[in-house]
Symmetry: C2
Subunit: 391 residues, 2 copies
């Protein structure tokens, strides 16, 4: 397996992009990534597009060849859509990585895109539920806020954590995105505002939840041995893990050891760290799947950055701040940068690449190694990727 580098990145803003179609968003992000990489479109050998829910929301499927055509790619370029709920575009990242690492391709274009805000909230909520299991989840009335609300209550009970500690995740991530021009929210919020915002699913309030968003992100992957032809700002992918964990959580919903951990995250992280031959202490900057404040804490523990039960205290102690020991979601994360589901995984990698290049608007000092964690459904599918600056 040879090295694979990200040589170009592109992104729309995440938020309310009513004026653009889904395809236009994807094309814009791709063109930006192609331009950033300095390649020509004819250099692209394969195209992966992550999208979750354009079928249910827009009545539109088969997006990959459509975007490829609009973008002006040659018809011989295989254009593949992959879907794994909120994890869709990081699955594409993994496939692009594997196909270059193994020598099938030299240059692959990856994109993720989602358009959600043109639809009513009930329709979006119904569409999001499509990533849940009809037997064990739909029938029990589970929703995502409901699930993470349960997790929060159990976590506080089990580890003597406080709702204030959980709310501080939201304060931190909203602060982080003030300087991120791609973020949906760019105003700080206070802990009081978080705690007094509208109740969504006890104990989670509005500011504990990520916003429905539009957006697209893209990147150009290239064999490292060819990447220097195009750029000197190489960021290498040195670890890739992917795992499934559906219903492992829910079948044992009464087992407090299990509801506070997502098995797919544990497995994907183990794969990625083993591949990279690194441990959590080697990671300088992290973008993880904070669909809810509580999710960030669980994920930060599952990924090995904190011992189980200590993640909430770590937030209070400032360890996860941009200038802390373990900076988490300096982009603002899903909570404040936004969560256009099919675009999120690629968007996380975009933010890490900017960090490792030293070009981020909310820069973590001396970042050499970064990690992304992207999760779909209630832990149905998860990817973890590790990146290293190579210049």
């Amino acid at each position: 397996m040879r090295g694979v580098s990200i040589i170009g990145i592109g992104s729309t803003n995440f938020g309310l992009l009513g004026e653009m179609t889904l395809e236009e968003m994807a094309v814009r992000a791709c063109n930006e990534a192609i331009s950033d990489a300095g390649i020509e479109k004819k250099d692209i050998e394969a195209f992966f597009l992550g999208n979750y829910i354009s079928g249910m929301l827009l009545g539109q499927e088969t997006l990959a060849p459509m975007v490829a055509y609009s973008l002006g790619l040659n018809g011989n370029v295989a254009a593949t859509k992959v879907e794994g709920a909120c994890c869709s575009s990081s699955i594409g990242l993994r496939l692009g990585y594997l196909l270059i690492a193994s020598g099938v391709h030299d240059i692959v274009l990856l994109a993720g895109a989602e358009k959600m805000t043109s639809e009513s909230t009930p329709r979006v909520t119904r569409a999001l539920a499509a990533a849940m299991d009809p037997v064990s989840e739909w029938r029990t009335g589970f929703t995502y806020p409901g699930f993470f609300g349960l997790v929060a209550n159990r976590y506080m009970h089990e580890y003597k954590a406080t709702i204030e500690q959980i709310g501080m995740v939201s304060v931190k991530n909203h602060n982080n995105s003030v300087s991120n021009p791609r973020a949906r929210f760019r105003k700080p919020v206070t802990l009081d505002e978080v705690l007094n915002s509208r109740l969504v699913a006890d104990p989670l309030k509005l500011y504990d939840c990520c916003p429905i968003s539009d957006g697209a992100a893209a990147m150009v992957l290239c064999a490292s041995d060819r990447a220097k032809e195009y750029t000197n700002k190489l960021v290498e992918i040195i670890g890739s893990g992917m795992a499934s964990g559906l219903r492992t959580t829910h079948e044992t919903i009464n087992d407090t050891d299990t509801i506070l951990s997502l098995p797919a995250t544990l497995m994907a992280a183990k794969q990625a760290f083993e591949m990279a031959k690194l441990t959590p202490s080697d990671i300088d900057v992290i973008e993880l799947h904070d669909c809810f404040t509580m999710a960030e804490i669980v994920d930060s523990e599952d990924l090995g950055f904190f011992k189980k039960g200590t993640g909430a205290r770590a937030v209070e102690e400032g360890l996860t701040q941009v200038n802390g020991k373990i900076p988490i979601n300096p982009s603002g994360g899903l909570l404040s940068k936004g969560h256009p589901v099919g675009a999120t995984g690629c968007g996380q990698a975009f933010e890490i690449v900017k960090q490792l290049r030293g070009e981020h608007e909310n820069q973590v000092k001396n970042s050499e190694v970064g990690l992304t964690h992207n999760s779909g459904g209630t832990g149905a599918v998860c990817t973890v990727h590790i990146f290293r600056r190579s210049f």
Copy 2:
């Protein structure tokens, strides 16, 4: 790149499977393929699932990890759903092939599944339109029968072909599936019945169109150098092509040279034949994308089996019969075996494997090399695969 073989196959019947959920169908086909291969579930390293439209029809997405979990795969097995309309599961076949050929994996499980008959025809029709382009196709009122009806009229005008010749495709394919236990339709139809069936989109009648169907198919792919551990009945994948062609057809709808050919088929076929180092005259048996009678004729020409404009006459002369020179769709094809869209590509490969093993219920004599052609949308995406018996 090393050799890749199909060592196990499984399939539900295609048709009205009201008693089974989509997940149950996929699990059944997978278990059959795993059993046929003689592997254990723990041997599987990756899982690809092709599905087109469960989101719009059933409100269910993220199927790959769900099926993987029901099947009892280890959570470390990456479970990926790919979507490319009617071409979905053959895109999965290509990815599985590439990841084994390049040495990433040794054993990959592939499935395709679709549940369509539980919904009303208008809902299914709307969902199928999601594979068309909103700008160039939706706005013009295009439907699939409408498109292939135009093609048929133009083809007859251009090449002095007759509606009887086109209808003979349906007669042949219905006859072929009489002996296929997996087929939705198992009764022969006469040319009179085809020509006098209900008009759908002039000049195409009901029997010119494939039926809405349920079904699932699966297969186990294995590195050829390891395949002999499991079976002696190896069928190798020796060619794989994939291309996009969206709107190339429609932007030039007035150009008669173009509407009678699908560019994605031409490109994918060229790739596959070059990889296999073969020409159309080397192929013994073919399963191609006959979503309409007219499509079979256009495809058979685009794939190089007949010169442009002579495919309809070839049908009349019997060349495409199971005992003809160029046997096409001995399974009954989409027209009579059925077309559960996400399952179709994998189902075509299932039929070819049975042919090359000499085990098909409608066996083409002395079949050593077979070809599948799977197409999505109105030619938006297309795959061509070539297989060879290796025992």
